[in-house]
């Protein structure tokens, strides 16, 4: 044990002699681990949170497709869909988008009076009641973009070219920003008059299926019944989000790949092209009686010190960046051109498997790149090494 401690002490002294070079490597290595761990933590948390929340999404949605585009669906479709065995409730939905020229933001307008059962901690104010016209419930993002509070009016330009004014009855709390931030909920009748939609057509249809294992069969039957429809199952919605946040693709990772490659070249260059001084040091150590195994251990400790410090600091930095500072470094890239962007707080989901992969992808290659050339130098005759 004493011998190992002494070799570690020697390794630390050796690293300290070239402190500026080694501190530089630790800084770059830490930044690489921090960026990579930030991407992994962010995408995994997004994915898990989306999955947990969207489990409440409708089991089956039926869209009408015309000329390859999503089209409004007639109410008559619901009658036939209701007759399909295994189908429960069939509820037509009304929703669409509104581009607000004053803020430059896109809003999602929902026409429904289906309230929220437990709205106490969700909503400031009240939800719209059945038959109540000229009122709306909005998301926090719209409230902030329009500087609007409960009781204020929001004018929306309708399909007839006139402004339809809606009194704000409730505002969703910041807790639900990730799902309600850009929502404007109005009465279905108001929705139809705002967008000039006829009475018997809807955006799409939500179908309740009694037996979850029958969803695909019900979807296939509806598709056979109405070939111009596109059924979207909850499984497909979840699968979309599963692949959506896949960390393997994306701008951040592509940009980061260049930095990672630069570090690999730096580490490889540092490790393989041992300078004359380092080779001489190995030769002297061999000449004064160090075994090859001792030199290997020395180089192991050198690699371990740099990689362990960098890995741990980078991992801590990544966690703090994502879960305490809300991914502030990535936010311009994440936000894109969205004017209404939620200020949400991600749940700190950690995937130990990803952390283990990160460890093996960063620490092990660096240590291997440090040890292998030293082994080559240490098995050579000390006289040859010292003479260069």
């Amino acid at each position: 044990m004493g011998k190992h401690i002494k070799i570690l002490e020697f390794a630390l002294s050796s690293l300290w002699r070239r402190k500026y070079k080694n501190l530089g490597i630790i800084m770059v290595f830490t930044l690489i681990v921090m960026t990579l761990s930030s991407i992994l933590l962010l995408t995994y948390s997004f994915k898990r949170e989306a999955f947990a929340i969207l489990k409440g999404a409708p089991e089956l949605i039926i869209q009408k497709i015309r000329a390859g585009r999503h089209d409004f669906i007639p109410l008559s479709y619901t009658k036939k869909i209701r007759e399909v065995p295994g189908v429960g409730k069939v509820i037509p939905r009304l929703w669409g988008y509104y581009y607000d020229i004053s803020t430059g933001g896109n809003y999602t307008v929902l026409g429904t009076f289906r309230g929220i059962k437990n709205s106490i901690n969700v909503l400031k104010g009240k939800f719209i009641r059945h038959g109540e016209s000229g009122v709306c419930v909005i998301g926090k993002g719209i409230s902030q973009a329009r500087f609007a509070e409960i009781g204020d009016r929001i004018p929306i330009k309708g399909a007839d070219g006139k402004f339809h004014s809606f009194r704000i009855k409730g505002i969703f709390g910041a807790d639900s920003n990730i799902i309600t931030n850009d929502l404007i909920i109005i009465n279905p009748e108001d929705f139809k008059s705002l967008f000039g939609i006829e009475n018997n057509i809807f955006t799409d249809i939500v179908v309740q299926v009694y037996n979850p294992s029958e969803i695909n069969n019900v979807a296939a039957r509806i598709k056979a019944l109405f070939p111009d429809t596109r059924p979207i199952t909850k499984k497909e919605i979840l699968r979309t989000y599963d692949t959506l946040f896949d960390w393997r693709s994306g701008l951040v990772l592509t940009m980061f790949a260049g930095a990672l490659l630069a570090f690999v070249i730096l580490a490889w260059d540092k490790a393989t092209a041992m300078n004359a001084e380092e080779k001489k040091e190995i030769g002297i150590l061999k000449a004064i009686g160090w075994e090859t195994s001792d030199i290997m251990e020395l180089k192991f400790w050198e690699g371990f010190v740099i990689s362990s410090l960098s890995f741990l600091t980078g991992l801590i930095g990544g966690y703090i960046h994502i879960f305490f500072f809300g991914a502030s470094i990535f936010s311009p890239a994440l936000k894109g051109w969205s004017v209404i962007y939620p200020d949400f707080h991600l749940m700190p989901y950690i995937n130990p498997y990803q952390i283990a992969v990160l460890l093996f992808l960063t620490v092990i290659p660096y240590m291997a790149a440090t040890i292998v050339p030293s082994w080559k130098a240490s098995i050579t005759d000390p006289d040859v090494i010292m003479r260069g």
Binding site: I5, L8, E9, L12, E49, A52, L54, K55, G56, I61, G68, R69, N106, T108, L110, T112, R114, I116, N118, V122, G139, S176, N177, I178, I179, T180, N181, L183, I185, N216, I232, K235, I237, L238, R239, T240, Y241, D242, T243, L244, R248, S249, G250, L251, S308, L309, L312, I316, Y319, F323, L334, G336, W337, S338, V339, Y341, M347, P348, Y349, I350
Partner: protein, 111 residues
Amino acid sequence: MKYKVFIGFVLLETLVVISLFMHSMVSLRNSMPEIKKKKDIVNELMLTDLSIWTEARYTRNPSQADWFAPFQDYPSSIEHFPAGSIIAPGNIRGPAKSGSDRSTTNLHKEE
């Protein structure tokens, strides 16, 4: 004596990492009612997507978007919006027993 400083520093950092894991577990446990609340809103308002990228229809509601929306075609397809560069193409086509379906099932198990 340098080794004492090094071992002390590594132990300290390891303790910080362990405490962050603990923070994660405690935060997740405490946030379960909040997650349930959001799930209930999604269920009662019959929502299908997260309100994150509002810049285009297919980034606001990726699960409801047309099959030929740019990022849903293939990874290197020409993309108009920055969000399309951040999020991967949606593999929503094909039968349910695809490769990505397996990972969805894994997430089910992790819940």
